[in-house]
Symmetry: C2
Subunit: 625 residues, 2 copies
């Protein structure tokens, strides 16, 4: 309690009185307890709900009587404890020092059922009032604010306690604590029962980066080779067509793709970016030599580090990064891409289109899957970073870096397990660009898998999600969703369909991410004029099974300026001419969804030839939101 | 309270005593209250936690004192109420008469926060003990049974109360009630506060079916035509190749597909099944004439009934069904399919394969989408019923019907809004076959859309889901999931992958439906011998990025007898030869997932030619579970 009082957190009034003294108190209702090492309530040693000093005296008599009855011995030094009785709604605020996020607060519905109802949220100790409020609003119990069942509850009083606890937790040697209950009532919030565990907190040092990983004028590719089966070949080939100066390095080769191959580091001109795809044993030495030569950026493709237990070598990479102020991406990564220089330093096979998404992926295979999907749909990237083992360059560094890149509009992240949670949250908080995250490792089995694969603890999924969302990130449910935004991120959606059922299903799917736009009276009247009387009179706009391209067109013309995007569902009804319908969808705001393949081959061909985004599944379509 | 006591539900002991009588009671702790029309607790008129008769007397003095102090007048007829004080955990049991499901109980965490925490479940009043237990286990609060924080709580006592309330609710004219709290403690369960709303319940009559809709020997198709743009043409053509006798009926046609066309009903031989695809105004008359001729089954394709406000005609269809003991499917439906007779009485374009899934769909367009997907994957059906408006033949009838069909192994349902909830649940309960349900109308907007489209109230999604699941149905999250089961319904899944990230993501997806099989020591040792030392030592089995077909084969041979199915993920790593890998997947237990299209064209071609089920998306793959 002392620490809690030191930080000015309200606690109940209390007073100790020797057993023979006259009892009096100034705050009612109050509770009288005999302070003896017995199970007080079982022997009648506690009286609650005392309303005034008269009742307090009678309560003393009753307790003394009960003590005698139960043969409980006491002497003149025994004490009564008089305590303000605090009634109200029970909340909990706990704190734990998490291995990833450091000091984290837990807020929620309190009392004895807390472990059962688990109506809780997480709050970073660096969160400001706005973020704290967002976090609290995620709990069901927050519905008591500002009023519940005729009584007023002050959210500000709770936020005030949380802010004090943030300071306390950050400043003191505490590894864990619990206030349960924190009682809120019309007077405020009072910490009634407090448990604190002291201890030293084990903090890691975070290094922010001084140089940009995307300053790529002069690139050296170590391990460039003419052997097609090696990644060094793929990287060299992918890098060729860039606007940067590319220097191949390989002691056993003279030329590659008609370019000179350098035999040694000494021969090289000044280099800012080194890509390392050479045997593991040569990596450390090469990095240090290049660092001495002034190179700041290292993309280490080579594997054989932490992921196979070679922790020492990985540690040394980190030490080199600190010593020479380097950006070391990887090891065991797929590479990076920088649209500014049209520079593809990855060994991926997919073509990459220029665009405005900055993509950060912890898994090379997931990255290739995303790149393949993006290439299919002609979606482009401004930057790509394959994180690999994250010996040095980590998620927080990557987010900060992409924030400095003008061409990047959205930062999309595939994460499994992160390090430096507090810095990660800070980076999200400071980001001027929208951050989308898909994280694996929700289930227990997946958490185990993520660990065995990246060597990074996946941590608690819910905590990760809630803290990141509070800090400002948007969570996505699939890897594909990472590449559609922000172009298609819609607040209000219109659905035009020739069948009610699929319209209903899509409405459910859309409602998870966006709003189904309500049609105003005027629009409904306009639609009445162009649609048959049986149309749905509602969004989804069911233009009825026998709809022709003319009817679709009339409906679309009427609503084209409403909503952010318009899904156009076409189902193979008996007289549906899908080709003529897709031909009128001459606007990127219209997203065609063709439910059926056999019947729609010509329409699909048409859309493919027009480079249009289209879907054949309602669920896939909803992912763009 | 009287009704509650009539059904022997425990309530607290209580006793009324005139103000001048001597107080005594036999159950402690108890509460003493003055029974006057004042706000008792504000003026000190309630004393809780009274442990014995001595304290009871003192409590009386205190209250009388308080009354004087507050100038509250009373006389010799004024009464004290002594009530057993029941302490424990607060639950709620409510009841409401739902428009779809009739009498439904609500069980959950009680107290004043019930509307906030909403930790509740639904229980049908016809549910047996097993089903009640299943329902209760869906709440978080059920974790207090059988023991919580050192105290024992008896689930049996709660179930006993629920069973009594089921009888009460079914028998009495009650439209709503609430027991909040029902307090459970180590002694049992006691209804402390009860509110009952009496009123008449509006019940609909349900008709079960005497004849099978799938007795299809002699079929008349009304509206068969040679005009290709009409549905009557498609139905006639689809029906042609069946083992049943097909009779086309059309007064304006002589022959169709080289078969005689009948001009009138009188000419027809005895018919058991009539398909009606004629103008709306002729439907009722045709049905009645055919019914008089002894026809029992009617599939009404024609639209123009309830869905355009023509409620009268639809009512008359229902009356005809009752009068002549008919099965009337539709109106406004796509038709039916019966594999026994290879009889396709739908106007769908997709080919239908013979199989063991019985499919029931409320939306024709959703049905065609499912049929298209099934045809692509060569998945077959035993029966298909397109429900249409459900003027007569409803979901409960359809489930009962499919239960009588030997060739049907699984019943898959797409539903929007149902009628006859209690009969629907009974049909699920009595089903000997697995029932899979996908229901649209979860979001508010979708509920509205479903209503405007089918004219059936979608009802409360959660209630529908919980009641159906308790009765024994399995809920699915997508329409595709309805057709993969039961063949691929796996309890334990193994994942073999050449990349950790996708393995982790698939683990999350699989964990929603099934278990990731844990590998025993022996298996891990065997895998150690055939895999590189960096393999994951775990399921997902990460065979590492440079895996060849030989390595995949060695891993698969080791685990082929474990788990129910094995997902084999192939990502386009730099040296991956996907074609040679898919060639070794010579077992239907192996489900290939190829993450990437451009790089995998030959492997995909090979799988297509082999008629193998495969996926290019982790999420699509997980749907088969």
């Amino acid at each position: 309690m002392n620490l809690i009082q030191k930080y000015n957190i309200p606690t109940p009034k209390e007073k100790r009185v020797k057993i023979n003294e006259i009892l009096s108190f100034d705050t009612f209702p109050c509770v009288l307890k005999i302070d003896l090492p017995v199970h007080k309530s079982d022997i009648g040693g506690v009286i609650t709900d005392i309303q005034n000093n008269d009742e307090l005296k009678k309560a003393k008599e009753i307790i003394l009587n009960n003590l005698k009855k139960h043969d409980i011995s006491f002497d003149e030094n025994s004490e009564f404890l008089i305590q303000e009785e605090v009634k109200g709604i029970e909340l909990i605020i706990g704190g734990k020092f998490d291995g990833i996020f450091g000091e984290v607060l837990i807020f929620g519905s309190g009392g004895t059922l807390v472990e059962i109802e688990k109506d809780i949220t997480y709050i970073d100790t660096n969160a400001d009032e706005n973020e704290i409020t967002k976090a609290i609003k995620k709990t069901k119990i927050s519905k008591i604010f500002p009023e519940f069942r005729g009584k007023k509850y002050n959210l500000g009083a709770v936020i005030d306690v949380i802010k004090k606890l943030q300071i306390m937790f950050n400043n003191e040697n505490i590894t864990e604590f619990d206030i349960n209950p924190l009682i809120v009532n019309e007077k405020g919030a009072i910490a009634v029962d407090v448990r604190i565990k002291e201890g030293k907190k084990n903090k890691k040092t975070f290094y922010s980066k001084k140089h940009s990983i995307f300053k790529n004028e002069n690139i050296a590719i170590f391990g460039a080779t003419d052997k097609e089966e090696k990644v060094g070949y793929a990287i060299a080939k992918n890098a060729l067509n860039s606007k940067a100066n590319i220097y191949f390095v390989n002691p056993h080769l003279n030329t590659l793709f008609d370019k000179r191959v350098y035999k040694s580091i000494d021969e090289l001109p000044p280099i800012d970016t080194s890509v390392i795809a050479i045997p593991t044993k040569f990596v450390l030495d090469t990095v240090e030599k290049m660092a001495c030569k002034g190179c700041k950026n290292f993309i280490i493709i080579s594997a054989g580090f932490k992921e196979i237990g070679n922790i020492e070598a990985e540690k040394k990479l980190k030490e080199l990064a600190i010593k020479y102020d380097l950006n070391i991406v990887g090891p065991n990564c797929l590479g990076i891409y920088n649209a500014d220089k049209e520079l593809n330093l990855t060994f991926a096979k997919s073509s990459i289109y220029k665009g405005d998404i900055g993509l950060i992926s912890q898994s090379g295979a997931v990255l290739t899957a995303i790149m393949d999907k993006a290439a299919q749909n002609k979606i482009g990237f401004s930057h790509i970073i394959s994180m690999g083992n994250m010996a040095d360059f980590n998620f927080a560094n990557a987010i900060n870096e992409l924030n400095n890149q003008e061409n990047c509009k959205t930062i999309s992240i595939y994460a499994e397990g992160i390090q430096y949670g507090k810095e990660f949250l800070k980076a999200i908080r400071n980001s001027k660009k929208e951050i989308l995250i898909f994280k694996a490792g929700k289930s227990k089995a997946a958490k185990k898998a993520a660990f065995s694969h990246t060597g990074n603890l996946a941590g608690d999924f819910e905590m990760f999600k809630i803290l990141s969302e509070n800090a400002g990130a948007v969570f996505k449910n699939s890897i594909e969703s990472l590449i559609y935004s922000p172009e298609y991120k819609a607040k209000e959606v219109i659905i035009v369909t020739n069948a009610g059922g699929p319209g209903t299903i899509l409405t459910d799917l859309v409602s998870q991410y966006a709003k189904i736009k309500e049609l105003d009276k005027k629009t409904i009247e306009k639609l009445n004029k162009v649609l048959p009387p049986t149309w749905s009179h509602n969004n989804p706009i069911d233009v009825i099974g026998d709809a022709t391209d003319e009817r679709y067109k009339a409906a679309l013309e009427t609503v084209k300026n409403l909503g952010d995007i318009i899904f156009v569902i076409i189902t193979p009804q008996y007289m549906t001419d899908a080709l003529s319908i897709v031909k009128i969808l001459n606007n990127d705001k219209y997203i065609p969804i063709l439910l059926g393949k056999e019947s729609f081959l010509d329409a699909i061909n048409y859309l493919e030839n027009q480079n249009r985004l289209y879907f054949t599944s309602l669920e896939e379509a909803a992912k763009i939101l």
